[in-house]
């Protein structure tokens, strides 16, 4: 039987795919950029959704991973462009696949370090420690003049994906959209697996999980690292979209934005981040044109969501999540 949520997810996926093509046909190229932004933010939030949605780990420091992804793309790309060797004679790269792999490894290691320390706490302390780590990375980036410091780093020519021209907006959208679909697939796979069962059970009742003989900490740590890696991938794409990376990608506003996306869309739901990113970007571009204070209205919507629609957009449309 096809569930209602499955149908809604399909509609959202097709909608996001169709918009840039329609925009291209009617000559609205900027809309393609908006759709690409939605896909990338949704991927970043899907990464966070592994930790937050499945594991109940409210990380207020995921901008660190998002930004690290961005900086890996920017740094590798700038070395490849200028020809300056980085380390061991490695000259950087403009190949997205290599950049993504590097970003995933770097963010994974950073996630391991941050996770090992912060997962010893819970609740508000966990939120604060993840925030503190992210702020450390933020100030590190600001005070590192080799890669632009406060001014950030430009990516002169967008990095390359095998076989396509990423400078074409529609093509780059396709790359980002493809990455999002793969990311969603991974999320669903993790959620439905034995690991996912343990992770979701840890969120619901840690004592119960320990009492059947599963140690909660390694489960949480693994989820945190996977989460960091996926968010970093989105960071690479985000840098390529803007052809620019700056410390703002690492700021706590970004961490907050990712959490807001998930809450708006539906915490722990597969397409929650997609619905959330759509809503967020649409509000931003629609209201942002009218008033600089558009975030006030975002705040109202967030308030309404938390008070009256705890399941977010997906919860509103598809009903409560059921766990077989």
């Amino acid at each position: 039987m096809i569930s209602r949520e499955f149908l809604i997810n399909g509609v959202l996926a097709l909608l996001l795919l169709a918009v840039p093509f329609i925009a291209s046909a009617v000559g609205q190229p900027f809309t393609i950029t908006l759709a690409t932004r939605i896909a990338i933010l949704a991927l970043a939030a899907t990464g966070l959704n592994i930790a937050l949605g499945l594991g109940g780990l409210v990380s207020f420091g995921h901008a660190a991973f998002f930004g690290v992804g961005g900086y890996v793309a920017g740094i590798l790309s700038s070395h490849a462009f200028s020809g300056d060797p980085m380390i061991f004679g490695f000259e950087g790269s403009k190949q997205m696949l290599l950049i993504w792999l590097t970003a995933a490894i770097v963010a994974g290691l950073l996630g391991l370090l941050i996770g090992v320390i912060s997962l010893r706490t819970s609740g508000v302390y966990f939120i604060m420690i993840t925030l503190a780590f992210a702020q450390m990375v933020y100030y590190f980036a600001i005070s590192w003049p080799a890669y632009g410091g406060e001014d950030g780093l430009s990516i002169v020519v967008r990095n390359q994906f095998p076989g396509v021209n990423t400078m074409r907006p529609l093509t780059f959208f396709g790359v980002a959209y493809g990455a999002l679909i793969v990311g969603l697939g991974l999320f669903a796979m993790i959620r439905d697996s034995r690991f996912g069962a343990a992770l979701q059970a840890v969120r619901q009742n840690e004592v119960r999980v320990a009492s059947v003989g599963i140690s909660p900490l390694p489960i949480r740590l693994t989820a945190f690292v996977l989460s960091a890696m996926m968010t970093a991938l989105a960071g690479c794409l985000y840098a390529d979209l803007n052809r620019f990376v700056s410390p703002s990608m690492l700021s706590w506003h970004m961490s907050g934005e990712l959490i807001v996306l998930i809450i708006l869309g539906g915490t722990g739901r597969l397409f929650g981040p997609v619905a959330g990113a759509m809503l967020y970007v649409v509000i931003e571009s629609a209201l942002g044109g009218i008033t600089e204070r558009w975030q006030f209205f975002l705040g109202l919507i967030l308030l309404a969501t938390v008070l009256f629609a705890r399941g977010g957009v997906i919860g509103l449309l598809a009903g409560k999540a059921r766990h077989g």
Binding site: Q204, V212, G324
Partner: protein
């Protein structure tokens, strides 16, 4: 006599000046139900926490199947074969009854770091979990979220979860609590047979159940075991009568 499965020796735990556990020794032999009774505040919960590993003892040893477990964490003790139920039901409330049991089956098979295969189509997990649910009479409620089960059903589910583990010793913390007379009767019959699979350390307030089930009884008062013996010995013990049993004996 055979080696005890669970052997607690000289356990002590102080909270400041309060001796919550005062030189407690309890042994659990194969095939037996050993009931632990005592008035409120006697230190039963503190003792259970130490056996399960949520509290660390100040002194003494806890051995399971001949191996010291007193310095292990909760999850490790569970993996060594300590199957417990909780005084207040402790379940993954969003998961269905079936998925709660599946989690235990998965833990026993020792494989929570698998990422590829969806659990819902994993016959290894589903079939065994259904079997455990049937044993406690919950098969028809398998797909109801644990949080929506009745109080009695939650107690049954806790036992089904323990059954799914590779248990060497059961530690049942007031399984009869809030079960109602009919439910208690059914559960008493069930536990009577369960002792064949693994011995049971039974903490219980329901004296009818304790007297019906227990092979031996230990009485805990102010953190000390004041008597251990068969049902008849405990019923006749004058110290126990004054300290605890009163009219019941």
């Amino acid at each position: 006599m055979a080696e005890p499965v669970l052997d607690i020796k000289g356990l002590r735990k102080n909270f400041g000046a309060l001796k919550a556990t005062d030189d407690v020794s309890i042994s659990l032999y194969p095939g037996e139900i050993h009931a632990l009774i005592g008035p409120n505040g006697a230190g039963k919960s503190t003792l259970i926490h130490q056996i399960c590993g949520t509290l660390r003892q100040d002194q003494g040893s806890i051995r399971l199947a001949g191996k010291e477990i007193g310095n292990l964490g909760v999850a490790e003790r569970a993996r060594k074969g300590l199957g417990r139920t909780f005084q207040i039901s402790s379940l993954a409330v969003e998961f269905s009854a079936l998925r709660n049991v599946m989690l235990a089956v998965q833990a026993r098979q020792g494989s929570s770091f698998r990422f590829l295969r969806p659990v819902r189509s994993d016959r290894n997990l589903v079939d065994e979990a259904m079997d455990r649910l049937s044993r406690v009479g919950l098969a028809e409620r398998a797909h109801i979220p644990a949080g929506e089960l009745s109080h009695g059903e939650k107690r049954q589910l806790e036992i089904a979860i323990a059954l799914a583990l590779d248990v060497k010793a059961f530690l049942l913390d007031e399984p009869m609590a809030g079960m109602g007379p009919e439910g208690s009767k059914v559960l008493t019959g069930f536990l009577a047979k369960l002792r064949q699979e693994a011995p049971i350390l039974l903490v219980e307030h329901d004296m009818d159940a304790v007297f019906a089930l227990a092979d031996r009884i230990s009485v805990l008062v102010y953190g000390r075991i004041i008597a251990t013996g068969t049902v008849e010995e405990i019923r006749r013990d004058p110290v126990v009568r004054t300290a605890y049993l009163g009219d019941h004996a």
